[in-house]
Each structure stands twice: as structure tokens, then as C-alpha cells.
Symmetry: C2
Subunit: 501 residues, 2 copies
């Protein structure tokens, strides 16, 4: 296939350039940069220890004295890692289908990004980080045009940049609450009484208004986001929370095609609950100003819902006077085979706000004209994003387009799900509900213990997976993950599952 060949060639070309010097210019390497000794992607993982190895364990122990370190799984050597393969400090070389919790779009050390990192404009951006809402850099507008604006969802002309997924969701929520207040007041600015009372955190200046989210949803851990997050009690317990409602997200049976009627019923039950809850909260003086939802629940166990569900949800939100807010922190930037997952739904009107981060490297939220704050310095932070990240994003978008990676993601994702279905045939209790959109792929297994065994044993065999929900294994590979990588993935999974059986 031509696309696949081109991508393979790009990776191969770089390894030639490493030895052949001048050929580096083929990947537009900055004239000042030196060749980087990447090597090339190996054919398969190469393991010398179990995971974590002794050196990882030692570093983990040292680090745990200083930082919260008990969740460290292994320690990487990111200078040696390349493409889909990650090196750890014990000399293990592993196929990484999780990519730093879904946040490296082009894998490790992509040559095109190396060229960016050596450019004068990138270095200047690194060292002179501006306060973008006061003193932006001369190239910021053009950089936005060439990056975030060039992939803006239809109908969303505003984009506000921030630091990470959580703070993007915080500001998305703030933007919705502020615009809702302007609508309630029919455009009037806050009154003197509102301005005075808010300094004391009291009504009417600090009103009771709610964000509706979904059980098992994850939106971050800062206290605003956390009031909408409902995935794990350990994220939330002991911390104060707003009186915000959460409804059930549809829980589908798979395969989707064989359970259409059951799943439609799930949609309806969820819709009814959302509508009822919004009316209840309005009646008790705590109106829902926004409905916040992930296109696919990630942390909560890779729960998918239909385009019909989301179109209905948008309608119900609007009928009840609330914004339709998407959290595309994990689903965005190509992993579903579309720039944004919600592009699969054919919504009649755009979402009101949509956050992004992770694989976009840059973070922030898009807004429709109704939900972009236009008065005073209401939505803001010192830095408000980082041009450096936008340089990386600009180049990443270029690579995705040149290599036609969105198509590759759709094809490769279908190939992976198909392979998982075959494993399901072979190990029906161990591989359940294989499902995906593009490379946003998952399957469930028997129980939590078995999940952890599969996860751990795959790592020992050189395959890094993700884990979510209670019994779910998730894949979040780079967009350059191809069929040959799927073959290695399925081969290792088969080996591991055969031992569990």
C-alpha cells in the first residue's frame, strides 16, 4: 500500500541519513543541527529483564522518597527510543501501544520534530516564554493559523490555549458559566451587588450553577474538573465537591451491530435521565449551564456511544438552555481516524466548547461564538499556553497530512480490532468486547486480576499496553503504528493469553 510504504520509507530514510550525513536534508533538518543517532525501529521487542528491571526499581525507590512514585512502572531512556519502540533503563526495548498515556502523536524522536527542535524559532520560543494574552510573540497568530486553527472543528472559530487537559477543562467550564451568566442577564454586565458578593464567595456574585457529567467520566483532578469526574472514588474522596449532577452513560453490548435494539434502549434511558436531572436541578435553584461529556469514555473503561446518542444529548442540552461541552483530551488529534472524534457524529450544529490536550501537545479549548467570553479579562492565565508546543503541533499536522495518517489510523485500527476478534474466538473468556474507533481500541477481560496479569505479562514480553475501567485493556498507540506493529502486538498477546488460559 502506497501510504504505508511512504511512512516506512520516512523512518528508514532517517536511519540511512544517520550514517550518510547529507541525506538528512531529505527530512528538512535545520542546517545547524547535527545528525542524531536514532538507529531504526527494531522488528520486534528485545527483552533482557522482567518489567520493572532492577535499574528501574532502584530509580523508582529513590524517586519515591521525593515524589509520589509508587505508581512508576518502568523508567525510560527516551534518548534511545525511536518510533513505536521505547527503551528502558535496563536495556529492554518494547513496543509501546500506550505512548505516555496517549500523548505522543508521532512516537518517539520523530525526525521531523527533531528538525523543529533545532530551529531558531523553536529555541527562541523555549527560552522566552511569553505571557500570551499580554505580550504575544510576533509569530503567534500565524502559528495558530497553521496549527490549531487549521484543524479547528467546523463552526468553532475561537481557540483559547492553556497548559494541560485539566486546566483546559477548568477554563472550558469557566467560559460556559460566564457566558451563561451573560445570557441570563441578557447581556447586562455584573451588578455592583454581584461584584461585591463574589469577593466573599457568596450569591448572587458566586451563583449556584452546575455542570452535568456522566458516571465513569474523567475530566481531570483540579477541584472544578474533579466535581465533574466520576471514574474512580480514589480520585475524589476526601476532597470538597460542588453539588453537580452525574447521569449514567450508555453501557453497550458488543458487537454493536448485533445489539442495536439493546443499545438504543441504553441511549434512551440515558437521555431521559439527563433531561429529568436538568429539570430537577433547575427547580432546586442550581441550573445546569453545561453538559460535559467525552466522545468515548477512556479512563472509565473505553465506553463507546452512538452518533445518535450524542445528537440526542446535544438536543436535550440545548432544550434545557445548557452548553454542549466536549472533552476531547483523549479522543482528539487523529487517534479515531478523524481530527476530532465528534466529527463522526454529523452534529446538526457545532459543539459549544471542546477541550484538547495530550496528543495535541498544545492544550486548550475551542469555543463557538456564543460561548467565547468577550468581556474583560475573564478567561486568562499568566502564560495561557506555550508557543513551543504549537511549533511541534504544526509540524505534526504536516506529517499527518503528508503521510495520510488519518486514513492509516482507520485502516490499522480496523486491522487491530479484527485481530482481537480472532483472539476472542480463541480465548472467549479472556478477550471480550473488542471495539474501537480508529486506533482508539480496547477489549475487556474476565476480571480485574486477569487484566492485571495480562497487562504485566505483556510488558514482560515487551508489549506496553494501557489499562482502564475495571477489566479493560486499552490501546493508544502513536499514529505511526502500522499493520506490522499490529502483527507483533497480536503475536505477543496470543502468547500471553495462551498461558492464562
Amino acid at each position: 500500500m502506497f501510504r504505508t510504504l511512504r511512512l516506512t520509507n520516512l523512518l528508514a530514510a532517517r536511519s540511512v541519513a544517520t550514517t550518510a550525513g547529507p541525506q538528512a536534508s531529505a527530512v528538512a533538518v535545520n542546517q545547524h543541527s547535527a545528525p542524531v543517532d536514532f538507529g531504526t525501529e527494531p522488528e520486534r521487542p528485545h527483552m533482557v529483564t522482567a518489567i520493572p528491571g532492577p535499574r528501574s526499581l532502584e530509580l523508582k525507590k529513590n524517586l519515591a522518597d521525593v515524589q509520589i512514585g509508587f505508581t512508576i512502572e518502568w523508567v525510560g531512556n527516551y534518548e534511545k527510543s525511536f518510533g513505536n519502540y521505547v527503551h528502558d533503563v535496563d536495556g529492554n526495548v518494547m513496543l509501546d501501544t500506550f505512548m505516555q498515556i496517549s500523548s505522543l502523536p508521532l512516537g518517539y524522536n520523530h525526525p521531523a520534530l527533531h528538525a523543529v527542535a533545532r530551529s531558531e524559532e523553536y529555541i527562541a520560543a523555549s527560552l522566552n516564554r511569553p505571557a500570551l494574552q499580554y505580550f504575544p510573540s510576533h509569530n503567534w497568530m500565524q502559528l495558530l493559523q497553521d496549527s490549531l486553527i487549521s484543524i479547528a472543528p467546523r463552526g468553532m472559530k475561537h481557540v483559547n490555549t492553556f497548559m494541560c487537559g485539566a486546566c483546559s477543562n477548568e477554563h472550558q467550564i469557566r467560559s460556559v458559566a460566564i457566558c451563561a451568566a451573560f445570557m441570563r442577564r441578557q447581556g447586562r454586565l455584573p451588578s455592583e451587588e454581584e461584584l461585591t458578593s463574589t469577593i466573599r464567595n457568596q450569591a448572587p456574585g458566586s451563583p449556584k450553577v452546575a455542570i452535568l457529567s456522566f458516571l465513569n467520566g474523567f475530566h481531570g483532578r483540579t477541584l472544578g474538573c474533579l466535581s465533574a469526574t466520576r471514574s474512580k472514588a480514589t480520585h475524589k474522596v476526601d476532597l470538597p465537591a460542588f453539588d453537580w449532577p452525574a447521569c449514567n452513560f450508555p453501557r453497550y453490548k458488543y458487537p454493536f451491530e448485533e445489539n442495536v435494539e439493546y443499545n438504543r434502549k441504553q441511549d434512551e434511558m440515558s437521555h431521559d435521565e439527563v433531561d429529568r436531572t436538568m429539570k430537577e436541578y433547575k427547580a432546586k435553584g442550581n441550573p445546569v449551564v453545561g453538559v460535559l461529556v467525552e466522545p468515548i469514555q477512556g479512563e472509565g473503561g473505553d465506553a463507546h456511544a452512538s452518533a445518535e446518542f450524542f445528537r440526542g444529548l446535544q438536543r436535550i442540552a440545548k432544550e434545557n438552555g445548557a452548553a454542549f461541552m466536549l472533552d476531547e483530551v483523549q479522543t482528539g488529534m487523529g487517534i479515531t481516524g478523524h481530527w476530532w472524534a465528534h466529527e463522526m457524529w454529523n452534529l446538526p450544529t457545532p459543539p459549544d466548547t471542546m477541550s484538547f490536550s495530550k496528543r495535541a501537545m498544545a492544550a486548550g479549548f475551542y469555543a463557538s461564538d456564543d460561548y467565547q467570553v468577550k468581556h474583560d479579562e475573564r478567561i486568562r492565565s499568566t502564560w495561557s499556553g506555550e508557543p513551543q508546543k504549537a511549533f511541534l503541533l504544526r509540524e505534526t499536522i504536516k506529517v499527518i497530512r503528508q503521510q495520510n495518517l488519518l486514513q492509516s489510523v482507520r485502516d490499522t485500527g480496523a486491522y487491530l480490532v479484527n485481530g482481537l476478534k480472532q483472539l476472542k474466538g480463541k480465548y472467549p473468556s479472556l478477550v471480550q468486547n473488542p471495539r474501537g474507533a480508529g486506533l482508539y481500541v480496547a477489549f475487556d477481560t474476565k476480571d480485574k486480576d486477569v487484566k492485571e496479569k495480562i497487562y504485566k505479562s505483556c510488558a514482560d514480553h515487551g508489549l506496553i499496553l494501557g489499562s482502564c475501567g475495571v477489566t479493560t485493556i486499552r490501546f493508544r498507540p502513536a499514529l505511526i503504528y502500522q499493520k506490522k506493529h499490529v502483527d507483533v502486538t497480536l503475536d505477543i498477546l496470543d502468547t500471553v493469553l495462551s498461558k492464562q488460559n
Copy 2:
């Protein structure tokens, strides 16, 4: 003075190296890097337009269609800027005493940081951003040792890294609330009832607990931080807030030496109010688990308080069972002539938590052993900071030590305050209450209108100032701001003030 000469020589050496090539090695430039055409610092600003100039205005207009852009003051060219002088897109060269809202410790394009940006380890960190709490990089522990741990406040052995000041404060607050819950339960893990109820944002799992902060304090705009922020109504209005208390921060008369008794009375009134408020909130079932305070209120108008005030505040917090939490986002990293402002207070025991960001480039919070979360994955984010920023911080610390910049900051700050006192003698209604700690310096003026005129007119004369509170002009220069820069600053101020008089 030897120190001053050394710093000047470093900057001068770089400009020689630009033309003389090989001499670049004098500042440890990476062997792969090319010479950068910085030029050198000018003697004075060079203005060709008023601020903002026509090109800045045009870019602001374009940007405002896309982002919140009405607060843009000018558009910078950070590739051309150097040292204390910033270039804008209209060809103006200005002395910058605000440094991107206090967040560039070594000014623009410091040669030592350029060398870091060209190093392979920095580039690898840029392009392969790890999820630090799961898969840290091989050099992360050493990097922490050489950066954040090497300047850790006495008694604070834990440091947790995050993205910016707001998210560091969010996690600082979360850490305190979580540790307080463990103390309340005498170490017991959360009960099943707590785990179940928290998913619904309900007690007992989501308890009522409060953070006490101060009127005019600023701690960020995410919803948790915002419940503690009390500086401007426009930051807070229309947004839901927790029922958290705020007390009066001492409002001193200056000069401090001539108002000792009055100011001591201010301390006492604030202490009494804090103690009374904590008891009230405990009685109403919303106990204060932490007292959060800035060492010097920045956004709120550069309000200083005495070491005695903070020692007393720490005592009252502890007596009432709450953590003593510092927000050193703006006061930290050398600007007061100490690594951390609270080092000036001679506290009997360390603070419980302390956040940092801005000038540290890296962000996060330090914690005492009592307030470091040690159970489960409670304090966390996908990225949890960024090694790249720690590389810049490590080199910055090295430069600060080599150049003895903390001493320079104290000397230069005293020289600046002394100069402002002379301007006060000349323009008593326009320059009031000159005050400072190191280079964290400010003065008040007659009223808001006059403040804005001085601010704007100084910019037109090539002097970038900061502004805060209602009538306050603040200085937040880089740590390489020296007496010769003070002379230029005072000279321009004198010119501007003479026209206002």
C-alpha cells in the same frame, strides 16, 4: 564591583562571540549549535512608535478574532530581544522590568540557556514528554536533585511537579485536604461509604472542608484556586465557589520603620480575625484544613507583612489544626534576594506546603512529610510536570550561584527603592510608599487614572512596568537587572512624572 563586572562580562563576551565564532565556547555552547546573533544589550531604550505601535495593533486585531485578545499591550519579537531589553514588532527596544509577568529569571535569550536548548538531552526531553508518575526518564531523579531539590526550602524534602501556578496550587490544596482527612481518621483508609458517596459528590466522601485565604490574595483561576482568590471581582463573578473564608491581610503604612506600632496593630487584627474565623468554620461543620497565603500579595497591590505576622499566622494555623500553606508562585526563585521569600521570616518549623511556578519555569509544590500524600494514586496528572523545564531551571540555578545573583538582587533592589524614595521627595503625590524585598519592588500613586497614565507613558518612553492592585506600579525585573538598569528606569520615570506633575 566584582560581581557586577562578572555579569556584565558574561553578556559582553557573548556579543564578541557572535562575531568571533570560536569564543562561543567560553559560555559552554553545545558543540552542535551555531552562533546566535544576539547583539548586546543597548545602553538605553530606543523607541520609534508609541506603544502599541501600528504592527502590534494590527496583530492584536487579528488575534482578537480568535483568542481573548483585548488585553494585549504589545507584540514582542523574542528572537531579537536580549538581556533586560525586549524588542517589539514595531522596532521599539524597551527596558523590561516586568519580564512576562515575572517569569523570565535571566531575561531574554540568556546564552547559558541557549546552550541548554541545543543539548541532546534537552531536545530528547522536548520531543518525548513522559508521563512522569508512570514512566519517568532515566535522568529525572538526577535532574530533580540538581534543580528543585538543590534549592528546596529547609525541612521540605518532597517536591511534586506540575504545569503552572494554578495547577500547583490546586494540587497543593488537594494534598492538604487529603492529608487532613487521613489525620481526622487517624490513618484509617477511606471507608466504603466514603468511597461510594464521593462518586455522587456527597458527604461523607466529599466532605465540607475549607481553605482560609486573604482578601486581595491571588492564587489562580481554576475553580479550586478561585475559591481562595480574592483580588478582583472580575476574576470570580458568575462562577460557583466553595464556602471558604477570607480574612483581612495586614495593610501597612510605609515606611515600615516609622509605623511600627500601627503595623503591629494590623498584624494583631488580622491574627484575631483568622483565629476567630477558623473557630467559626469549625463550629459550623466546615473546618479550615489549610491557611493559604502569599508572602507578599502581588496581584492585590504589593502588600507586605512582617516576619512576626507570618510566624504568628503559622502558630494560629497549627493551633487550629490546619496546614500553613505558602503560595510562592510570584515571590519565589530569587526575586526577593532569597530563593524563597519565607526564608526571610525565620520560621520555627517549615511551612507545610509551598507552591512555585513563573520564574522557576518548572512548577509544582514542596511538602513537609506530614502533608505529602503517601497512599494510592491521589495526587497526579498525565504529565505531572515537564523535564524540559527542569533542565532550564538547573542551568538558571547554576548561573544564579556562579554570578552571585541573590546578593545582586538585594543590592540592586535597595538601590531601586532608594531611587524611588528620591522621586517621592520630588513628586510626593505621584510616588507614595516605595517598598520592596530585593527586586520585588513597588510604589503607589495618587489614583487609578494617574497610575494608568504613568504606566502607559513609561511604555511610550521604552520602560515596561507592571501594574497591580488599584494604584500600584510594580517592578518584577529579571535577576540580571543591575544598577545601570535602575539608573535608566529612574531617569525615564523622572521624565514621565515631571509631565504628570
